[in-house]
Protein backbone atom coordinates (compact mmCIF):
# COMPACT_ATOMS: atom_id res chain seq x y z
CA UNK A 1 0.00 0.00 0.00
CA UNK A 2 1.39 3.37 -0.91
CA UNK A 3 2.32 6.00 1.65
CA UNK A 4 -0.41 8.26 0.37
CA UNK A 5 -3.01 5.52 0.57
CA UNK A 6 -2.04 4.80 4.17
CA UNK A 7 -2.21 8.45 4.95
CA UNK A 8 -5.63 8.82 3.36
CA UNK A 9 -6.83 5.92 5.46
CA UNK A 10 -5.40 7.71 8.46
CA UNK A 11 -7.12 10.92 7.50
CA UNK A 12 -10.40 9.08 7.20
CA UNK A 13 -9.90 7.55 10.63
CA UNK A 14 -8.99 10.92 12.04
CA UNK A 15 -12.13 12.46 10.71
CA UNK A 16 -14.04 10.07 12.95
CA UNK A 17 -11.77 10.28 15.95
CA UNK A 18 -10.90 13.88 16.80
CA UNK A 19 -11.17 14.88 20.48
CA UNK A 20 -10.52 18.20 22.18
CA UNK A 21 -7.64 18.43 24.65
CA UNK A 22 -6.34 21.29 26.76
CA UNK A 23 -3.33 23.13 25.26
CA UNK A 24 0.10 22.99 26.88
CA UNK A 25 0.76 26.19 28.81
CA UNK A 26 4.46 25.55 29.50
CA UNK A 27 7.08 23.04 28.43
CA UNK A 28 5.43 19.65 28.98
CA UNK A 29 7.12 16.91 30.98
CA UNK A 30 7.36 13.66 29.06
CA UNK A 31 6.64 11.62 32.12
CA UNK A 32 3.32 13.43 32.53
CA UNK A 33 2.03 12.45 29.09
CA UNK A 34 -0.81 9.98 28.77
CA UNK A 35 -0.09 6.68 27.03
CA UNK A 36 -1.42 7.63 23.60
CA UNK A 37 0.41 10.93 23.48
CA UNK A 38 3.58 9.37 24.84
CA UNK A 39 3.48 6.80 22.06
CA UNK A 40 3.12 9.52 19.43
CA UNK A 41 6.12 11.33 20.88
CA UNK A 42 8.21 8.16 20.92
CA UNK A 43 7.54 7.47 17.28
CA UNK A 44 8.33 11.06 16.41
CA UNK A 45 11.58 10.76 18.42
CA UNK A 46 12.57 7.67 16.42
CA UNK A 47 11.91 9.46 13.18
CA UNK A 48 13.83 12.51 14.38
CA UNK A 49 16.88 10.34 15.09
CA UNK A 50 16.75 8.88 11.58
CA UNK A 51 16.59 12.34 9.97
CA UNK A 52 19.19 14.14 12.11
CA UNK A 53 22.58 14.16 10.44
CA UNK A 54 21.14 12.90 7.16
CA UNK A 55 21.56 14.47 3.76
CA UNK A 56 17.95 15.54 3.92
CA UNK A 57 18.75 18.46 6.23
CA UNK A 58 20.45 21.69 5.20
CA UNK A 59 23.84 21.52 6.95
CA UNK A 60 23.75 25.14 8.12
CA UNK A 61 23.87 25.27 11.90
CA UNK A 62 23.94 29.07 11.99
CA UNK A 63 20.65 29.13 10.09
CA UNK A 64 19.13 26.53 12.40
CA UNK A 65 20.18 28.55 15.44
CA UNK A 66 18.77 31.73 13.94
CA UNK A 67 15.38 30.10 13.30
CA UNK A 68 15.50 28.51 16.75
CA UNK A 69 15.99 32.00 18.18
CA UNK A 70 12.85 33.22 16.40
CA UNK A 71 10.88 30.21 17.62
CA UNK A 72 12.07 30.73 21.22
CA UNK A 73 11.10 34.39 21.00
CA UNK A 74 7.60 33.37 19.95
CA UNK A 75 7.24 30.64 22.57
CA UNK A 76 9.51 31.71 25.47
CA UNK A 77 7.65 29.78 28.16
CA UNK A 78 8.21 26.51 26.32
CA UNK A 79 11.92 26.66 27.07
CA UNK A 80 13.19 24.96 23.93
CA UNK A 81 10.51 22.25 23.73
CA UNK A 82 9.87 23.50 20.21
CA UNK A 83 12.84 22.79 17.94
CA UNK A 84 13.39 23.53 14.26
CA UNK A 85 15.11 21.73 11.38
CA UNK A 86 15.56 22.93 7.79
CA UNK A 87 14.78 20.32 5.15
CA UNK A 88 16.69 20.47 1.90
CA UNK A 89 13.64 20.50 -0.32
CA UNK A 90 12.30 22.86 -2.98
CA UNK A 91 8.73 22.37 -1.78
CA UNK A 92 6.94 25.41 -0.36
CA UNK A 93 6.07 23.76 2.92
CA UNK A 94 6.51 23.38 6.69
CA UNK A 95 5.08 20.91 9.19
CA UNK A 96 5.28 19.92 12.85
CA UNK A 97 5.81 16.62 14.65
CA UNK A 98 3.89 15.74 17.83
CA UNK A 99 7.09 16.01 19.91
CA UNK A 100 7.59 19.68 19.02
CA UNK A 101 9.98 19.31 16.09
CA UNK A 102 9.20 21.82 13.36
CA UNK A 103 10.40 21.09 9.82
CA UNK A 104 10.77 24.03 7.46
CA UNK A 105 11.56 23.37 3.82
CA UNK A 106 14.36 25.39 2.24
CA UNK A 107 11.92 26.15 -0.60
CA UNK A 108 9.65 28.23 1.63
CA UNK A 109 12.56 30.00 3.34
CA UNK A 110 13.84 31.15 -0.02
CA UNK A 111 10.55 32.93 -0.72
CA UNK A 112 10.14 34.83 2.54
CA UNK A 113 11.51 38.32 2.86
CA UNK A 114 12.03 39.09 6.53
CA UNK A 115 12.02 37.77 10.09
CA UNK A 116 8.43 38.82 10.73
CA UNK A 117 7.33 36.62 7.84
CA UNK A 118 9.23 33.57 9.09
CA UNK A 119 7.80 34.31 12.53
CA UNK A 120 4.32 34.06 10.98
CA UNK A 121 5.22 30.62 9.67
CA UNK A 122 6.90 29.39 12.88
CA UNK A 123 4.16 30.86 15.05
CA UNK A 124 1.59 28.84 13.13
CA UNK A 125 3.62 25.62 13.27
CA UNK A 126 4.40 26.03 16.96
CA UNK A 127 0.70 26.34 17.73
CA UNK A 128 0.07 22.87 16.31
CA UNK A 129 2.37 21.60 19.07
CA UNK A 130 1.19 23.76 21.96
CA UNK A 131 -2.46 23.04 21.12
CA UNK A 132 -1.74 19.33 20.82
CA UNK A 133 -3.38 19.01 17.43
CA UNK A 134 -1.48 15.77 16.83
CA UNK A 135 -3.23 14.15 19.77
CA UNK A 136 -6.59 15.40 18.60
CA UNK A 137 -5.92 13.88 15.19
CA UNK A 138 -3.90 10.97 16.50
CA UNK A 139 -5.07 8.32 14.05
CA UNK A 140 -3.90 10.43 11.15
CA UNK A 141 -0.59 11.38 12.71
CA UNK A 142 0.11 7.84 13.90
CA UNK A 143 -0.39 6.55 10.41
CA UNK A 144 1.90 9.20 9.00
CA UNK A 145 4.60 8.23 11.49
CA UNK A 146 3.99 4.58 10.74
CA UNK A 147 4.59 5.29 7.06
CA UNK A 148 7.71 7.24 7.90
CA UNK A 149 9.25 4.33 9.78
CA UNK A 150 9.22 2.24 6.60
CA UNK A 151 12.21 4.18 5.41
CA UNK A 152 14.00 1.11 4.11
CA UNK A 153 11.09 0.30 1.82
CA UNK A 154 9.91 3.71 0.77
CA UNK A 155 12.52 6.42 0.17
CA UNK A 156 12.47 8.90 3.02
CA UNK A 157 11.83 11.86 0.77
CA UNK A 158 8.55 10.32 -0.31
CA UNK A 159 7.63 9.65 3.32
CA UNK A 160 8.31 13.19 4.33
CA UNK A 161 6.38 14.48 1.39
CA UNK A 162 3.47 12.27 2.36
CA UNK A 163 3.69 13.32 5.98
CA UNK A 164 4.00 16.96 5.25
CA UNK A 165 1.10 17.04 2.86
CA UNK A 166 -1.25 15.22 5.17
CA UNK A 167 0.00 16.38 8.52
CA UNK A 168 -3.62 15.87 9.04
CA UNK A 169 -4.83 18.90 10.86
CA UNK A 170 -8.38 19.92 10.20
CA UNK A 171 -9.35 23.34 8.91
CA UNK A 172 -10.45 24.16 12.46
CA UNK A 173 -6.96 23.34 13.71
CA UNK A 174 -5.38 25.40 10.95
CA UNK A 175 -7.52 28.41 11.81
CA UNK A 176 -6.66 27.98 15.47
CA UNK A 177 -2.96 27.78 14.60
CA UNK A 178 -3.29 30.91 12.44
CA UNK A 179 -4.89 32.85 15.32
CA UNK A 180 -2.43 31.63 17.95
CA UNK A 181 0.57 32.12 15.64
CA UNK A 182 -0.56 35.62 14.74
CA UNK A 183 -1.02 36.56 18.38
CA UNK A 184 2.42 35.16 19.20
CA UNK A 185 4.20 37.09 16.45
CA UNK A 186 2.38 40.31 17.40
CA UNK A 187 3.20 39.94 21.11
CA UNK A 188 6.83 39.18 20.22
CA UNK A 189 7.01 42.62 18.64
CA UNK A 190 6.87 41.74 14.94
CA UNK A 191 4.94 43.82 12.43
CA UNK A 192 1.50 42.14 12.19
CA UNK A 193 1.03 43.32 8.61
CA UNK A 194 3.84 40.98 7.58
CA UNK A 195 1.56 38.02 8.28
CA UNK A 196 -0.57 39.06 5.33
CA UNK A 197 2.53 39.83 3.27
CA UNK A 198 3.74 36.27 3.92
CA UNK A 199 0.74 34.68 2.28
CA UNK A 200 0.55 37.21 -0.52
CA UNK A 201 4.16 36.40 -1.33
CA UNK A 202 3.58 32.65 -1.35
CA UNK A 203 0.49 33.12 -3.49
CA UNK A 204 2.43 35.25 -5.98
CA UNK A 205 5.06 32.54 -6.33
CA UNK A 206 2.44 29.81 -6.73
CA UNK A 207 0.82 31.81 -9.52
CA UNK A 208 4.16 32.52 -11.19
CA UNK A 209 5.13 28.84 -11.34
CA UNK A 210 1.56 27.83 -12.14
CA UNK A 211 1.24 25.67 -9.04
CA UNK A 212 -2.41 25.12 -8.17
CA UNK A 213 -2.00 24.49 -4.44
CA UNK A 214 1.38 24.69 -2.72
CA UNK A 215 1.80 21.88 -0.18
CA UNK A 216 1.64 24.27 2.75
CA UNK A 217 -1.89 25.18 1.74
CA UNK A 218 -3.03 21.70 0.75
CA UNK A 219 -4.96 21.03 3.94
CA UNK A 220 -5.42 24.64 4.93
CA UNK A 221 -8.36 26.99 4.46
CA UNK A 222 -8.57 28.63 1.05
CA UNK A 223 -5.73 31.06 0.63
CA UNK A 224 -7.92 34.07 -0.11
CA UNK A 225 -9.97 33.34 3.03
CA UNK A 226 -6.79 33.06 4.98
CA UNK A 227 -5.43 36.37 3.78
CA UNK A 228 -8.73 38.02 4.68
CA UNK A 229 -8.74 36.52 8.17
CA UNK A 230 -5.17 37.76 8.82
CA UNK A 231 -6.16 41.22 7.55
CA UNK A 232 -9.05 41.23 10.01
CA UNK A 233 -6.72 40.35 12.89
CA UNK A 234 -4.34 43.27 12.28
CA UNK A 235 -5.02 45.84 15.01
CA UNK A 236 -5.91 49.37 14.03
CA UNK A 237 -3.21 51.96 14.80
CA UNK A 238 -3.41 53.46 18.28
CA UNK A 239 -3.90 57.24 18.26
CA UNK A 240 -0.58 59.00 18.70
CA UNK A 241 1.55 56.02 17.64
CA UNK A 242 3.26 56.32 14.28
CA UNK A 243 6.07 54.82 12.27
CA UNK A 244 8.11 51.78 13.21
CA UNK A 245 7.03 51.83 16.85
CA UNK A 246 3.44 51.39 15.79
CA UNK A 247 4.16 48.85 13.09
CA UNK A 248 6.54 46.54 14.91
CA UNK A 249 9.74 44.86 13.80
CA UNK A 250 10.29 43.37 10.36
CA UNK A 251 13.87 42.16 10.73
CA UNK A 252 14.72 42.21 7.05
CA UNK A 253 18.50 42.50 7.25
CA UNK A 254 18.87 39.79 9.88
CA UNK A 255 16.67 37.38 7.94
CA UNK A 256 18.33 37.97 4.59
CA UNK A 257 21.79 37.58 6.11
CA UNK A 258 20.90 34.36 7.93
CA UNK A 259 19.24 32.80 4.91
CA UNK A 260 21.62 33.99 2.20
CA UNK A 261 23.29 30.59 1.74
CA UNK A 262 20.02 28.66 1.68
CA UNK A 263 18.55 31.10 -0.84
CA UNK A 264 21.52 30.58 -3.14
CA UNK A 265 21.24 26.83 -2.62
CA UNK A 266 17.55 26.93 -3.53
CA UNK A 267 18.21 28.91 -6.70
CA UNK A 268 21.07 26.64 -7.75
CA UNK A 269 19.01 23.53 -7.05
CA UNK A 270 16.13 24.99 -9.03
CA UNK A 271 18.53 25.52 -11.92
CA UNK A 272 19.87 21.99 -11.57
CA UNK A 273 16.31 20.66 -11.68
CA UNK A 274 15.65 23.00 -14.62
CA UNK A 275 12.83 24.64 -12.67
CA UNK A 276 13.30 27.80 -14.72
CA UNK A 277 9.87 29.26 -13.89
CA UNK A 278 10.71 29.14 -10.19
CA UNK A 279 14.09 30.81 -10.77
CA UNK A 280 12.56 33.62 -12.83
CA UNK A 281 9.77 34.13 -10.28
CA UNK A 282 12.26 34.23 -7.40
CA UNK A 283 14.46 36.73 -9.20
CA UNK A 284 11.43 38.90 -9.92
CA UNK A 285 10.19 39.41 -6.39
CA UNK A 286 12.54 37.85 -3.85
CA UNK A 287 15.48 39.81 -2.57
CA UNK A 288 18.06 37.05 -2.66
CA UNK A 289 20.90 39.52 -2.03
CA UNK A 290 22.66 38.36 -5.20
CA UNK A 291 25.35 40.44 -6.82
CA UNK A 292 24.17 42.05 -10.08
CA UNK A 293 26.38 39.63 -12.03
CA UNK A 294 24.96 36.58 -10.24
CA UNK A 295 21.42 37.79 -10.89
CA UNK A 296 22.15 38.37 -14.59
CA UNK A 297 23.74 34.95 -14.93
CA UNK A 298 20.86 33.18 -13.14
CA UNK A 299 18.27 35.00 -15.23
CA UNK A 300 20.15 34.03 -18.38
CA UNK A 301 20.37 30.37 -17.35
CA UNK A 302 16.65 30.25 -16.59
CA UNK A 303 15.85 31.80 -20.00
CA UNK A 304 18.17 29.36 -21.75
CA UNK A 305 16.44 26.45 -20.01
CA UNK A 306 13.00 27.80 -20.88
CA UNK A 307 14.09 27.79 -24.54
CA UNK A 308 11.12 29.70 -25.89
CA UNK A 309 11.20 31.97 -28.94
CA UNK A 310 13.96 34.54 -28.49
CA UNK A 311 15.02 33.15 -25.10
CA UNK A 312 18.49 32.11 -26.21
CA UNK A 313 19.23 35.59 -27.55
CA UNK A 314 17.92 37.14 -24.32
CA UNK A 315 19.99 34.66 -22.31
CA UNK A 316 23.13 35.63 -24.24
CA UNK A 317 22.45 39.30 -23.48
CA UNK A 318 22.12 38.44 -19.76
CA UNK A 319 25.41 36.55 -19.87
CA UNK A 320 27.12 39.48 -21.60
CA UNK A 321 25.84 41.73 -18.81
CA UNK A 322 27.08 39.28 -16.19
CA UNK A 323 30.64 39.09 -17.52
CA UNK A 324 30.69 42.89 -17.87
CA UNK A 325 29.52 43.26 -14.25
CA UNK A 326 31.94 40.67 -12.91
CA UNK A 327 34.69 39.51 -15.29
CA UNK A 328 35.74 36.91 -12.71
CA UNK A 329 32.40 35.02 -12.68
CA UNK A 330 33.49 31.79 -14.36
CA UNK A 331 30.02 30.28 -14.83
CA UNK A 332 28.88 33.36 -16.76
CA UNK A 333 31.79 32.98 -19.23
CA UNK A 334 30.88 29.33 -19.81
CA UNK A 335 27.23 30.23 -20.31
CA UNK A 336 28.10 33.06 -22.72
CA UNK A 337 30.45 30.78 -24.65
CA UNK A 338 27.79 28.11 -25.06
CA UNK A 339 25.01 30.51 -25.98
CA UNK A 340 27.25 32.20 -28.55
CA UNK A 341 28.16 28.82 -30.05
CA UNK A 342 24.48 27.96 -30.41
CA UNK A 343 23.85 31.32 -32.05
CA UNK A 344 26.70 30.84 -34.52
CA UNK A 345 29.23 33.31 -33.09
CA UNK A 346 32.21 30.98 -32.86
CA UNK A 347 34.73 33.67 -32.05
CA UNK A 348 32.80 34.94 -29.02
CA UNK A 349 32.15 31.32 -28.00
CA UNK A 350 35.86 30.41 -28.08
CA UNK A 351 36.89 33.52 -26.19
CA UNK A 352 34.55 32.89 -23.28
CA UNK A 353 34.94 29.11 -23.07
CA UNK A 354 38.72 29.58 -22.92
CA UNK A 355 38.27 32.24 -20.25
CA UNK A 356 36.07 29.83 -18.27
CA UNK A 357 38.81 27.20 -18.26
CA UNK A 358 41.37 29.80 -17.18
CA UNK A 359 39.15 30.90 -14.29
CA UNK A 360 38.08 27.36 -13.29
CA UNK A 361 40.93 25.04 -14.24
CA UNK A 362 39.61 22.22 -12.03
CA UNK A 363 35.98 22.52 -13.17
CA UNK A 364 34.20 19.15 -13.15
CA UNK A 365 32.89 19.83 -16.65
CA UNK A 366 36.30 20.66 -18.08
CA UNK A 367 36.15 17.68 -20.47
CA UNK A 368 32.85 18.89 -21.97
CA UNK A 369 34.15 22.42 -22.46
CA UNK A 370 37.42 21.19 -23.96
CA UNK A 371 35.45 19.06 -26.44
CA UNK A 372 33.26 22.07 -27.28
CA UNK A 373 36.38 24.15 -27.96
CA UNK A 374 37.70 21.45 -30.28
CA UNK A 375 34.45 21.49 -32.24
CA UNK A 376 34.68 25.28 -32.56
CA UNK A 377 38.10 25.30 -34.19
CA UNK A 378 38.02 27.10 -37.54
Amino acid sequence: MSARALCLLGAAAAACGGTEVAPFRVRPERTALEHQESRLWQRADEFERSVDGSALLVPDDALRQYLQGVLDRLYPEFDGALRVRVLRSPEVNAFTFPNGLVFVHSGILSLLGNEAQVATLLGHEGAHFTHRHALEQRANVENALYVAMFGSIIPLGADLLAMSSISGFSKGHEREADREGFERMRRAGYDPAESVATFRRLLAHAEAVNEETPLFFATHPALEERIESFEAMIPRPVAGQTGAAAAGERGEDAYLAATRAVRHLALEEDLERRAHASVLASLAFVDARLTPAEASWLRGEALRQRAGAGDLESARDCFREAVAQDPGLAAAHRALGRASAKLGNSEEARTHLERYLELAPAAPDRAYVTAELVSLRP
Partner: protein, 188 residues
Amino acid sequence: MKLFALALSLAAFACQATSTSLVRVDGPGRRIAAGGGSELELPAGWVYHSGPDGIVAARENPFVHLLTFAYVEPTGPEDKDNDPRQTPAELAEQYVAKAKSSGGWSHVEVVSNEPFALDGRPGCRLHVRLSSPEQREPAREAVLCAAGHGKGIYKLSYVAWAGEHFARDLPLFDAMVASLQLPDAPAP
Protein backbone atom coordinates in the same frame (compact mmCIF):
# COMPACT_ATOMS: atom_id res chain seq x y z
CA MET B 1 8.51 6.40 -16.64
CA LYS B 2 8.12 4.54 -19.89
CA LEU B 3 11.20 2.49 -19.13
CA PHE B 4 9.84 1.73 -15.70
CA ALA B 5 6.63 0.50 -17.30
CA LEU B 6 8.69 -1.68 -19.59
CA ALA B 7 10.57 -3.03 -16.59
CA LEU B 8 7.28 -3.92 -14.98
CA SER B 9 6.09 -5.65 -18.11
CA LEU B 10 9.35 -7.58 -18.24
CA ALA B 11 8.85 -8.66 -14.66
CA ALA B 12 5.37 -9.85 -15.54
CA PHE B 13 6.66 -11.69 -18.55
CA ALA B 14 9.36 -13.33 -16.46
CA CYS B 15 6.60 -15.28 -14.74
CA GLN B 16 5.39 -16.68 -18.07
CA ALA B 17 7.99 -19.05 -19.49
CA THR B 18 5.96 -19.62 -22.64
CA SER B 19 5.61 -15.94 -23.49
CA THR B 20 6.79 -15.20 -26.98
CA SER B 21 7.48 -11.54 -26.05
CA LEU B 22 10.41 -12.50 -23.89
CA VAL B 23 13.51 -13.76 -25.68
CA ARG B 24 16.63 -15.29 -24.21
CA VAL B 25 19.92 -14.29 -25.81
CA ASP B 26 21.21 -17.73 -26.71
CA GLY B 27 24.83 -16.94 -27.40
CA PRO B 28 27.42 -14.23 -27.98
CA GLY B 29 27.53 -12.26 -31.17
CA ARG B 30 23.82 -12.11 -31.76
CA ARG B 31 22.93 -8.72 -33.13
CA ILE B 32 19.42 -7.40 -32.83
CA ALA B 33 17.62 -4.45 -34.36
CA ALA B 34 17.28 -1.86 -31.66
CA GLY B 35 15.17 0.97 -33.03
CA GLY B 36 16.01 4.09 -35.01
CA GLY B 37 17.85 1.91 -37.52
CA SER B 38 20.46 0.84 -34.97
CA GLU B 39 21.75 -2.58 -33.99
CA LEU B 40 23.41 -3.88 -30.85
CA GLU B 41 24.43 -7.05 -29.03
CA LEU B 42 22.90 -7.99 -25.70
CA PRO B 43 24.74 -10.11 -23.12
CA ALA B 44 24.49 -13.87 -23.70
CA GLY B 45 22.05 -15.61 -21.36
CA TRP B 46 20.04 -12.48 -20.57
CA VAL B 47 16.38 -12.21 -21.43
CA TYR B 48 14.99 -9.21 -23.19
CA HIS B 49 11.74 -7.65 -24.27
CA SER B 50 11.58 -5.51 -27.34
CA GLY B 51 8.78 -2.95 -27.40
CA PRO B 52 7.92 0.22 -29.27
CA ASP B 53 9.80 2.34 -26.74
CA GLY B 54 12.97 0.30 -26.92
CA ILE B 55 14.50 -2.76 -25.32
CA VAL B 56 14.73 -3.85 -21.72
CA ALA B 57 16.96 -6.75 -20.71
CA ALA B 58 17.65 -8.48 -17.41
CA ARG B 59 19.89 -11.24 -16.18
CA GLU B 60 17.30 -12.68 -13.78
CA ASN B 61 15.31 -10.05 -11.97
CA PRO B 62 14.79 -6.66 -13.63
CA PHE B 63 14.74 -5.01 -10.21
CA VAL B 64 18.30 -6.21 -9.57
CA HIS B 65 19.95 -5.57 -12.95
CA LEU B 66 18.30 -3.81 -15.82
CA LEU B 67 19.71 -2.81 -19.20
CA THR B 68 17.70 -0.58 -21.45
CA PHE B 69 17.97 0.86 -24.92
CA ALA B 70 15.70 3.61 -26.20
CA TYR B 71 15.52 5.64 -29.39
CA VAL B 72 13.34 8.71 -29.04
CA GLU B 73 12.40 11.33 -31.61
CA PRO B 74 10.95 14.69 -30.60
CA THR B 75 7.17 14.76 -30.72
CA GLY B 76 7.29 18.27 -32.20
CA PRO B 77 9.20 21.55 -32.14
CA GLU B 78 8.20 22.11 -28.48
CA ASP B 79 9.78 18.82 -27.37
CA LYS B 80 13.19 20.19 -26.45
CA ASP B 81 14.14 17.16 -24.34
CA ASN B 82 14.40 14.88 -27.36
CA ASP B 83 15.91 17.38 -29.76
CA PRO B 84 18.95 15.66 -31.30
CA ARG B 85 20.68 19.03 -31.76
CA GLN B 86 21.36 19.25 -28.04
CA THR B 87 25.03 19.35 -27.15
CA PRO B 88 26.45 16.52 -24.99
CA ALA B 89 26.56 18.92 -22.02
CA GLU B 90 22.88 19.80 -22.53
CA LEU B 91 21.94 16.13 -22.65
CA ALA B 92 23.83 15.51 -19.42
CA GLU B 93 22.22 18.54 -17.78
CA GLN B 94 18.79 17.22 -18.73
CA TYR B 95 19.40 13.74 -17.31
CA VAL B 96 20.85 15.06 -14.05
CA ALA B 97 17.78 17.30 -13.70
CA LYS B 98 15.45 14.36 -14.29
CA ALA B 99 17.26 12.21 -11.74
CA LYS B 100 17.16 14.98 -9.13
CA SER B 101 13.52 15.89 -9.65
CA SER B 102 12.12 12.39 -10.03
CA GLY B 103 10.95 12.42 -6.40
CA GLY B 104 11.61 8.75 -5.84
CA TRP B 105 15.09 9.27 -4.46
CA SER B 106 16.07 11.69 -1.78
CA HIS B 107 19.72 11.88 -2.68
CA VAL B 108 21.32 11.68 -6.11
CA GLU B 109 25.11 11.66 -6.23
CA VAL B 110 26.72 12.32 -9.60
CA VAL B 111 29.75 10.00 -9.60
CA SER B 112 30.96 10.98 -13.05
CA ASN B 113 29.66 13.05 -15.94
CA GLU B 114 31.77 13.24 -19.06
CA PRO B 115 31.69 13.43 -22.85
CA PHE B 116 31.36 10.07 -24.52
CA ALA B 117 31.28 8.90 -28.13
CA LEU B 118 28.37 6.62 -29.03
CA ASP B 119 29.46 4.82 -32.21
CA GLY B 120 31.58 7.88 -32.94
CA ARG B 121 28.79 10.42 -32.32
CA PRO B 122 29.39 12.97 -29.56
CA GLY B 123 27.31 12.29 -26.47
CA CYS B 124 27.49 11.96 -22.71
CA ARG B 125 28.08 9.27 -20.10
CA LEU B 126 26.58 9.80 -16.68
CA HIS B 127 27.08 7.63 -13.58
CA VAL B 128 24.88 8.31 -10.53
CA ARG B 129 24.22 6.77 -7.15
CA LEU B 130 20.70 6.92 -5.75
CA SER B 131 19.84 6.66 -2.11
CA SER B 132 17.47 7.61 0.63
CA PRO B 133 19.27 9.39 3.47
CA GLU B 134 18.25 7.14 6.33
CA GLN B 135 19.83 4.19 4.56
CA ARG B 136 23.16 6.09 4.53
CA GLU B 137 24.37 3.84 1.68
CA PRO B 138 23.31 4.13 -1.97
CA ALA B 139 20.49 1.76 -2.91
CA ARG B 140 20.96 1.83 -6.68
CA GLU B 141 23.61 2.85 -9.16
CA ALA B 142 22.88 3.80 -12.72
CA VAL B 143 24.86 4.70 -15.80
CA LEU B 144 23.42 6.34 -18.88
CA CYS B 145 25.00 6.92 -22.28
CA ALA B 146 23.22 9.11 -24.81
CA ALA B 147 23.85 10.92 -28.07
CA GLY B 148 21.77 12.80 -30.60
CA HIS B 149 21.97 11.43 -34.12
CA GLY B 150 19.78 11.76 -37.19
CA LYS B 151 16.27 12.62 -36.06
CA GLY B 152 16.43 11.52 -32.43
CA ILE B 153 18.31 10.58 -29.29
CA TYR B 154 19.86 7.16 -28.68
CA LYS B 155 19.98 6.23 -24.98
CA LEU B 156 21.40 3.20 -23.24
CA SER B 157 21.19 2.72 -19.49
CA TYR B 158 22.11 0.23 -16.82
CA VAL B 159 20.57 0.23 -13.33
CA ALA B 160 21.45 -2.23 -10.57
CA TRP B 161 21.63 -2.59 -6.83
CA ALA B 162 24.55 -0.49 -5.70
CA GLY B 163 27.97 -1.98 -5.05
CA GLU B 164 28.82 -5.54 -6.06
CA HIS B 165 25.72 -6.13 -8.14
CA PHE B 166 26.33 -2.95 -10.11
CA ALA B 167 30.04 -3.62 -10.58
CA ARG B 168 29.49 -7.21 -11.69
CA ASP B 169 27.53 -6.41 -14.83
CA LEU B 170 28.98 -3.01 -15.67
CA PRO B 171 31.44 -4.58 -18.18
CA LEU B 172 28.47 -6.25 -19.91
CA PHE B 173 26.80 -2.85 -20.25
CA ASP B 174 30.00 -1.32 -21.61
CA ALA B 175 30.23 -4.16 -24.13
CA MET B 176 26.64 -3.57 -25.17
CA VAL B 177 27.33 0.15 -25.64
CA ALA B 178 30.47 -0.62 -27.65
CA SER B 179 28.46 -2.96 -29.90
CA LEU B 180 25.93 -0.27 -30.87
CA GLN B 181 25.90 0.55 -34.55
CA LEU B 182 24.01 3.67 -35.54
CA PRO B 183 22.62 4.13 -39.04
CA ASP B 184 24.21 6.51 -41.47
CA ALA B 185 22.54 9.86 -41.07
CA PRO B 186 23.39 13.50 -41.59
CA ALA B 187 24.47 15.43 -38.53
CA PRO B 188 21.42 16.72 -36.58
